[in-house]
Amino acid sequence: MTLLKVDNLTLQFDTDEGRITAVEDVTFAVNAGEVLGIVGESGSGKSVTAKALMKLNPENAVYGAGTRITLRLDDQSVDVLSLKKGIDMQIVRGGAVSMIFQEPMASFAPAITIGAQMVEQLVLHKKISAKEATDIAIEMLDRVGISDAVQRFKQYAFELSGGMRQRAMIAMALSTRPKLLIADEPTTALDVTIQAQVIDLMKDLVADFDMGIIFITHDLGVIAQTADQVAVMYLGKIVEQGSVRDVIKHPAHPYTRGLLNALPKLDDLEAALTPVPGDIPSPLERPAGCVFHTRCAAAQPRCSESIPEMTTHGDNHIAACFVTAEAHNARAGVE
């Protein structure tokens, strides 16, 4: 069942230096019980996309005319962009959709206990008594593997270690039983051993709660371990999308290939590390045509003139590139 459908999401910001396009024409869907990975480097627009889903962007954000964000709740469809601020948004924020961020310390109020923060949001969103909320919160802390949950419930965020804090953050996000969880770089600030614990925990929770998860990260290894579907973003656009196996094992877009070639691989220590040449352009100087053509080794004259459409590279596997699309079609023609 499709939980969330995003069609033609375009998001611009009005700044002193002009209107900046942060996200352009992004389309994807998330199903219940499925993890959608969004991978991209800094400046690719992945976090802005995540925030846009909950209308958390600042005042100067301008949504494109064709943008539609549809959330399916039980039997009704909610058009997120038409919701007004305040009371209307509450069914989305913290109720049906929860979000966890990279830095758990910044997400907890420092002077309020973990427990009080969990209870506050439960009372607000679920309309239950503080007593019931306390029970749910403690049960949830226990569920995410925090030992001695009753004690932790009374502690402040600074008293917990990094891994514990991230678990508490996940417990808090899940205590309202959201349908959709948006996780923005949830393991980036953690050590690998703790990262492995958190990844495992999230996988268990998807299975238990039948949630949809949008997992945003820059780390392709983490994506390979967690996601079912993956979308690769570059400069505000999705350049490739498909099942995680297809995208990582048979990348169709030159940018995805570049990312994989730049990554140090443990099973092949001899392989040279090939950087993607150049730097990501400033959003003020978005290249015309294909956004990646300034750094693409396979670029042709037409790449700087017209924008490549998404083409099919296999079952449910799409990429936006003129050159690889032709190569794919040529191969398909031979077969």
Partner: protein, 334 residues
């Protein structure tokens, strides 16, 4: 280890005092505890461990950027020899020219009010390496060129540059005094993968051109596997294993190293859930557990591990491990 060692640490400890108010007893953070380590000249030496393992403190101790509590460190590059513990002021100045640091965050390391030229020139001006402005400019241009910086950019300010370019400026600043030994502390951790590869290749190339020895501190084992020729693993202030890269990654001996390696998320979606779960987190260095420091999280811990701290012993000529049970566990996959 073959060849001459540029850095030799014997029984090196760095303890930081904390607390010690009117009513509370003084405690010590044992950031680095009794470390013995030799860094061969000309090597790309990796130092890995989780946060809180003491790897940054060890790097700083080698640069004499933090007070050394116990033990000794000697530096020898074939031209000069220093005992870092009792370095006199003049010798320390000279040592600063020979041992340099590349920082993690290229956004924080560069002054926004200085031009790139001034940023790179500052060390040699402070160290009185050049006498005239022409000499300084020539040296700056030379090193900027080596670090693949566009000479046109020297007049600009750092805000105009991307992360990768800034890290190249940082590297140029570290290398301008012509050091022999460079500590690179998480120098690619803040960079995107597509740029990270470029900086790693640059570091390697500069090593060959300038004859550098690196201590490369990182939490990212796959980066270390690719660039370093020898790797040491730290846990809670102790060295737990040290071996040539290939050996360490193909035949790790310490249970902690094995767990660390298996925790790296595999790029292969078909190999899921093969990580060996390491329970819990690194204990506080103010109150380390008795015996082996890793025993609280080790699946193989037995009574001896809880009482007696294992010493670093050789498993073969270049491979050292600190574990009581490494021999019997050698054949276990994980």
């Amino acid at each position: 280890m073959s060849g001459q060692s540029i850095i030799s640490a014997t029984d090196l400890s760095v303890h930081y005092p904390i607390g010690g108010g009117l009513f509370t007893a003084k405690q010590y953070v044992r950031a680095v505890d009794a470390v013995n380590l030799e860094i061969p000249q000309g090597s790309f030496f990796g130092l890995v461990g989780e946060s809180g393992s003491g790897k940054t403190t060890l790097g700083r101790a080698f640069l004499r950027a933090t007070p050394i509590t116990r033990g000794s460190v000697s530096y020898s590059d074939g031209e000069v020899d220093y005992q870092l513990v009792d370095l006199r002021k003049n010798d320390l100045k000279e040592y600063r020219k020979r041992a340099q640091l590349i920082f993690q965050d290229p956004y924080a390391a560069l002054s926004p009010r200085m031009t790139v030229r001034d940023i790179i020139a500052e060390p040699i001006e402070v160290m009185n390496i050049t006498t005239t402005r022409e000499q300084t400019d020539e040296r700056v241009r030379e090193i900027a060129d080596k670090c693949r910086l566009n000479l046109e950019h020297l007049r600009r300010f750092p805000h105009a540059f991307s992360g990768g370019q800034r890290q190249r400026i940082s590297i140029a600043r570290a290398l301008v005094s012509n050091p022999r030994f460079v500590v690179a502390d998480e120098s690619v951790a803040a960079l995107d993968v597509s740029i990270q590869a470029d900086i790693l290749n640059l570091l390697k190339q500069l090593q060959h051109e300038l004859g550098l020895t690196y201590l490369f501190i990182s939490h990212d084992l796959s980066v270390v596997a690719h660039i370093c020729d020898h790797v040491a693993v730290m846990y809670l202030g102790r060295l737990v294993e040290s071996a040539p890269t290939r050996t360490l990654f193909s035949a790790p001996r310490h249970p902690y190293t094995k767990a660390l390696l298996s925790a790296i998320p595999s790029l292969d979606p078909d190999q899921r859930g093969q990580a060996q779960k390491l329970e819990g987190e690194i204990p506080s260095p103010t109150n380390p557990p008795p015996g082996c420091k890793f025993q609280t999280r080790c699946r193989f811990a037995m009574d001896r591990c809880r009482q007696e701290e294992p010493k670093l012993e050789k498993t073969d000529s270049e491979h050292e491990v600190a574990c009581h049970r490494w021999k019997e566990l050698a054949d276990q996959i994980l």
